[in-house]
């Protein structure tokens, strides 16, 4: 059974009003809360029993899998190893996410170690949201790791979002992109108070005509801190771009370190990065359309993190 807090978390991280349609696996406090498989999507525990294996049959189209995680138990630090096998020529959406409800002074944490094997011609959209709520004072910690292996002519769009309540986050993304495959990663992180978030990315454009676009949008409120690192390495004729922007609202501090490494003469790699306050001309424009200063700030941030 899911209670009111679970419902709130599911809404927050997976946009679910109740149990999802299609295949799903809901994990709560380190144990299985509910699972449903479909004709084309199988979910089962891995051999060690410390995670699940999600198999998507070749040719599966327009199906989705929800795999949210709920954490409400004080002192629990849950680590889970999940493997996703995305079959040839399939086209699916996976909605993951972790929501922490902290009601005590003890810390709570979740580390989701996800490994994706995206087969030839497959298309994946992966949406992951992290959030933490609750009146407790314990630290809320989320340390996700995502490893992506893409075969040929596959495409993956990863939306990784953390919009509040998480005290400490250490993210690690790693990808190896095969010939003709395209990987888009968009990371959106908002921190406040004394929160800290770090994201490290190792992206390898391994196959001919592989493409990647890594986008990071950071908003720092209060005294929070965010660091973003990307190493984009080209081993073949390929195209890669990194775009990282950070808006510092108050006294936060940010490091953004995009690195491009061309180990092939036909690699085309570019990056753009910016850190700063909200641009004055944006505020003026929205105020000239009738928004107050605070409303204008909110609209700009909303759009930036959209």
């Amino acid at each position: 059974m899911i209670d009111a807090t679970d419902k709130k978390i599911l809404k927050e991280v997976a946009d679910l009003e109740g149990m999802p349609k299609g295949a799903y696996n809901i994990r709560k406090n380190g144990a299985l809360l509910g699972r449903e498989v479909s004709a084309n999507i199988n979910i089962e525990a891995n051999e060690k029993g410390d995670g699940i294996i999600i198999d998507i049959k070749p040719g599966t189209v327009n199906e989705s899998v929800h795999i949210p995680v709920i954490l409400t138990q004080a002192g629990l630090h849950d680590v889970v190893y999940n493997t996703f096998n995305i079959g040839e020529d399939s086209d699916v959406t996976i909605v993951a996410g972790c929501g922490i409800h902290c009601g005590s002074s003890e810390s709570e944490g979740h580390s989701g170690i996800h490994e994706f094997h995206i087969k030839s011609g497959a298309r994946l959209r992966y949406v992951e949201k992290h959030a933490a709520i609750g009146e407790g004072t314990g630290r809320r910690i989320l340390n996700p790791t995502t490893k992506i292996f893409m075969a040929e002519n596959a495409s993956a769009e990863m939306e990784l979002t953390q919009l509040g309540g998480v005290d400490e986050a250490k993210r690690y993304n790693e990808a190896k992109i095969g010939a003709g495959s395209v990987l888009l990663i968009t990371e959106r992180v908002m921190t406040e108070g004394l929160q800290a978030a770090e994201s490290k990315n190792e992206i390898e454009l391994a196959g001919t005509d592989s493409k990647s676009n890594i986008v990071s949008r950071s908003v720092l409120k209060g005294d929070s801190k965010q660091d973003f690192y990307v190493n984009l390495t080209a081993l073949a004729k390929c195209y890669g771009h990194i775009e990282c922007d950070a808006i510092i609202m108050d006294n936060g501090n940010n490091q953004t370190i995009p690195a491009l490494k061309a180990l092939h003469p036909d690699a085309e790699l570019t990056h753009e990065a910016s850190i700063g306050k909200i641009a004055n001309d944006q505020l003026m424009k929205l105020m000239s359309l009738g928004l107050s200063y605070d409303e204008a700030v909110n609209r700009i941030i909303q759009g930036f993190l959209k």
Binding site: Q282, M284, K285, S288, L289, Q302, G303
Partner: protein, 254 residues
């Protein structure tokens, strides 16, 4: 309707040789009354103070002295958003570019509605933007002409009593300038919009009922185009506007 009373604007003097920060007078004791429903063109050499006057009216620049009255009320100390709510709207010379904000977002804010039909109606009324513009992000990928059309549409979407357009033709192709002038004239005629255009462009100067020729922070001439022609022939042609326009760099290289 809109009255400038002895307005003065000062900005930090970047040319000053003294170490102490000093201020330079950009607008020097200007008074003028804009009548309701009139079409005014502010013109003059680069760095003369045209944009500064327009920004003072919108509240983007702060008055050093004098008063601005709008519909009988002193708006000199009102912030930008309150002047906008009172009915004054400004189309920027270099419109802001955003990340993640679309034309639809701006148009919804401007018109106060996100209703699809209403937005389509505004686009039809403006005429120079196509419907597929709606979901375009207003970011650095837009061309100079596209962003100026969007800027103009957001001003019109507010149904302003006073619409100020700062060099609306920058980046616009020659074939669009005619329709743009027609649009502003139509808005003036049908909605009685008091229209103030900062421009060097002959098409806008011809469209205006009254020309204000700004020179060295003062109104050098006010009246019709005929009367201004002898002075304009001397002053108006400038090919350096991109290089030296704006109060950030208030120098004329002519």
């Amino acid at each position: 309707m809109l009255e400038l009373q002895n307005i003065v604007f000062k900005a930090p003097d970047s040319d000053s040789e003294s170490e102490a920060p000093s201020l330079k007078t950009i607008i020097d004791d200007v008074s003028f009354k804009f009548e309701s429903g009139g079409f005014y063109a502010l013109t003059g050499p680069n760095g003369s103070g045209k944009t500064s006057i327009a920004k003072l009216i919108m509240g983007i620049n702060e008055l050093a002295d004098g008063k601005i009255l709008f519909e009988g009320k002193d708006i000199s100390n009102l912030p930008i958003d309150e002047r906008s709510k009172a009915g004054i709207v400004y189309g920027f010379q270099n419109p802001a570019r955003f990340k993640g904000t679309t034309f639809r977002d701006l148009l919804s804010i401007a018109s106060g509605s996100d209703d699809e039909d209403q937005l389509a109606h505004i686009i039809a009324r403006v005429g120079i933007c196509s419907l597929d513009f709606l979901d375009k992000p207003v970011d650095s990928k837009l061309s100079g002409g596209e962003i100026k059309k969007i800027e103009l549409a957001t001003v019109i979407a507010r149904n302003p009593k006073v619409a100020i357009y700062d060099e609306p033709d920058t980046g616009i192709d020659l074939w669009t300038i005619g329709p743009m002038v027609d649009l502003l004239k139509r808005e003036q005629r049908e909605n009685n919009t008091t229209t103030i255009v900062v421009s060097h462009n002959k098409a806008f100067l011809e469209a205006a009922d009254t020309l204000l020729l700004i020179k060295e922070g003062k109104i050098g001439y006010k009246g019709d185009l005929e009367g201004a022609k002898p002075i304009l022939e001397d002053l108006s042609v400038c090919t350096f506007s991109d290089a030296c326009e704006g109060e950030g760099n208030d120098r004329c290289y002519r």
